[in-house]
């Protein structure tokens, strides 16, 4: 075995992998679907292979197959997974346990959920190394502390004594990387390790992971939907779609000279041409010196915030998590009455509390949320969901209502065939379209879009943004667009407000905000957005003036 390893240099060799799952559609007989269709890949020692694709492409499923693991009811039904010269699918339960956490380790997307809240970090970090007998407790702890240092965690000697809830998300993600490296595996599966983080935190974690991979010579499967991210860390990239291989090549070739149309679409997805509109004479909605707090005034989340929104235009509010973006939306809609300041709409001051506002004011301001599937009643049909505001605000009934629902479905490019469908039968993008239609049904003057594309795949998000822009032209509706994604901002905004720790640090027309000279925070935010450029990460880290708030 050792000989064949030395000869080939191959660590992982997946051949004709086929993965299936049984699904139970409501009201139908269970059926078997194929998630991965005969995919093959090889990975040499110390190399990094990026697996990229939209959700449902099978990238996580393939990644986990290197640990002979199927999430949920997923089964590996065909092919071979040869790790260190043996087919691990034939290893049996005991053999598989012996390789998990020893030869292959896993870094999950949400470290916050992947750490056990009941145990100290250090106990969890050294657990696998001790279990497999690769180190004594003392050795493993020494190694863990060295890794904490390498991953530039604060207080490396004592951070292990903390519980998961006591450290930030970005730090937790690095502790998880240390946990994977602690048992000195041959291969680490990184499953979207930076997707749940803010851009400013992502760049630090990404740099830490890249350095750790380089210094420990561990091989890695790096799974993500973000090509710009994977371009920074991978030697090779594999593009997947619907469980099939689309294209596999060196990183430079994939991002510079994609051979397949789909890869090309992924590479160029971020750009939408949007001409900035000049602010009109009178703003439609003005937020005036609003200060808001949670917990009876103890936690100030908005400090003296003032912004204007003009009719038919888009104000984008950007900032990292905890900067107060969503709280601003809650203050405008009256869900969180401001402590000071006011919200002026169409020349009159709106009631602070939701209960003080007449129905007509409620109709004028609508919201769309990040999680479309939890924003809809799963037991109502699309027709009922979109029809509800028509009944509530306009008293429409019967045929008149159904006609209007059909029109709205046409507007969101879905067609009236969807009227009788339930949310569970729709894709993520379709659900978000239904939510858009529901908000349009009220004929509002302003729609507040809270991270509406963040949970969607890039190509689907692209479609939603285009739809929103078209609807703005037709319906003359204004948007307050809350996002942490600067690429989206460039595509949709007319003016931008940058928020940092509850304050607006930069505000103006899009061109003004995005033109240097920048303040330190805006520069950090802009420079942290991954670019599809090899070597971008090193350049960006070098050129930074301030550290991100997540650290």
């Amino acid at each position: 075995m050792a000989d064949s390893k030395a000869q080939s240099g191959k660590l992982l060799d997946i051949r004709n992998l086929r993965i299936e799952a049984t699904v139970y559609p409501p009201g139908e007989a269970p059926k078997t679907i194929t998630l991965v269709h005969d995919v093959s890949l090889t990975l040499e020692k110390g190399k990094v292979l990026g697996l990229i694709g939209e959700s449902g492409a099978g990238k996580s499923t393939i990644g986990l197959s290197s640990m002979a693991y199927g999430r949920g009811g997923v089964r590996i039904t065909g092919g071979e997974v040869i790790l260190n010269g043996r087919d691990i699918l034939k290893a049996g339960a005991r053999g598989i346990r012996a390789l998990r956490g020893r030869e292959v380790c896993y870094v999950a997307q949400s470290a916050a959920a992947a750490f056990n809240p009941a145990h100290k970090l250090i106990d969890q970090v050294v657990e696998a190394a001790m279990l497999h007998g690769t180190a004594t407790r003392a050795e493993a702890e020494k190694r863990a502390i060295a890794l904490f240092k390498k991953l530039s965690l604060p207080n490396p000697e004592t951070i292990g004594e903390r519980y998961p809830h006591q450290v930030s998300g970005g730090q937790l993600q690095r502790v998880m990387t240390a946990m994977a490296l602690c048992s000195e595996p041959d291969l680490i599966v990184f499953d979207e390790p930076t997707t749940a983080l803010d851009v400013t935190t992502q760049i630090d974690v990404l740099a830490a992971i890249k350095d750790a991979i380089r210094d420990t010579h561990v091989a890695a499967l790096y799974i993500t939907h973000d090509l710009a991210v994977v371009a920074q860390v991978s030697d090779e990239i594999m593009v997947l779609r619907h469980g099939r291989l689309v294209e596999w090549g060196g990183t430079r070739q994939i991002i510079k000279e994609p051979r397949q149309e789909y890869t090309n679409a992924l590479v160029s997805v971020h750009e939408i041409e949007h001409h900035e509109q000049q602010p009109g004479t009178a703003p439609m909605l003005s937020v005036k010196n609003v200060t808001a707090a949670y917990g009876g005034g103890h936690v100030k989340v908005l400090k003296n915030v003032s912004v204007d929104i003009y009719p038919g235009q888009t104000l984008a509010v950007v900032g990292e998590s905890g900067s107060g973006k969503s709280t601003l939306a809650r203050a405008i809609t009256g869900l969180l009455p401001p402590e000071q300041g006011s919200v002026v709409f169409d020349g009159r001051t709106l009631g602070n509390r939701l209960a003080d506002r007449p129905k007509e004011d409620l109709r004028q301001l609508q919201m769309i949320y990040q999680m479309a599937d939890v924003a809809m009643n799963p037991r109502q049909t699309v027709g009922t969901i979109i029809g509800r505001p028509l009944e509530f605000y306009f008293g429409m009934k019967g045929r008149e209502r159904d006609k209007r629902v059909a029109e709205l479905l046409d507007e969101i490019e879905m067609g009236k065939g969807f009227i009788d469908r339930y949310p569970a039968e729709l894709s993520g993008g379709q659900k978000q379209r239904v939510c858009i239609a529901r908000s349009l049904a009220a004929k509002p003057k302003l729609i507040i879009c809270d991270e509406v594309t963040s949970a969607l795949d890039p190509l689907v998000a692209h479609g939603i943004l285009k739809l929103l822009l078209n609807l703005q032209q037709v319906e003359k509706v204004a948007y307050l667009f809350i996002t942490h994604d600067l690429a989206t901002v460039k595509s949709i905004a007319d003016s931008i407000a940058v928020m940092y720790r509850g304050e607006v640090v930069r505000y103006g027309s899009k061109s003004k905000v995005l033109t240097p000279p920048f303040d330190a925070y805006t520069e950090l935010l802009l420079s942290s957005v991954p670019e599809m450029e090899i070597g971008w990460l090193e350049k960006a880290i070098k050129g930074r003036r301030m550290a991100s708030a997540g650290n």
């Binding site: 346990r97 959920a113 009941a118």
Partner: protein, 319 residues
Amino acid sequence: MSTPILRLVAQRIALGILLLLAVSVLIFAGTQILPGDVAQAILGQSATPEALANLREQLGLNDPAWLRYVHWLGGILHGDFGTAQSSGLDIASSIRVRLKNTLFLAACAAIVAVPLAIVLGLIAVRYRNGFVDKLISGLALASTSFPEFFIGYVLIFVFAVHWQIFPSISTVDETTPFLERLQAVVLPATALTLVVLAHMMRMTRAAILNVMQSAYIETAELKGLKPFDIIRKHAFPNAIAPVVNVVMLNLAYLIVGVVVVEVIFVYPGMGQYLVDHVAKRDVPVVQAVGLIFAAVYISLNIVADIAAILANPRLRHPK
């Protein structure tokens, strides 16, 4: 120990005391509303009106209700539950013996039932939806579905009458040596165990299964841990709060709900004491026993609340 925890714990204890006071009012009021007259009960139907009036005066039954309540509560706070009207014996000393017996029986049942239920719950999770799981759940549910008196008589028939291993009557007194005492309670403790087992087992199973959906269970699986170690080390610590709650409810049942079992096995515990004196309309005894049962119930639930607070690492180790 950090201050927020201390505050939460103090809050729970204060609430418990308040609740107990409210219960004492209810118990007192409830026994006042009941039909029947103690004096009449003591003297019988043939008593003369004068004798009745004299006895009422002597027992203080003519005082206003709130005054009698204050006297009653004041006495209890000094350890004086009054005297039983039917027998003239001091209630506190009768209860002391009875309560000790009941606690002994409950402890014997709990020592077996609680660990057994939790271990069976863990095993059921390990082999979830398989044969072992269904067997455990099926047997536990069956034993709970049978009424306690049925289980009691079956146990007596098999172990006392047929095989004659254990006594059918569990009479003990203060002089009974420990081992004999233990032998006497084997059958009633077994009956109680069978009654409370399923509830705790099913709850443990459900609480742990709920935790098994978490991402950190997957993390543990991908470290190569054995299935049972995953349940023990990673799932169980996060399921403690609901498990402790149901365990405490069942412990409370073991103390306050043993009436039927005590009567079947003629065991001199609190339950039998209560039943005897309800039949005699002996209001002071009924009040005292009711109050003690309420105190047991409330304190066990406080213990459950405090355990749940302590089991939460977010409260134990604030940011």
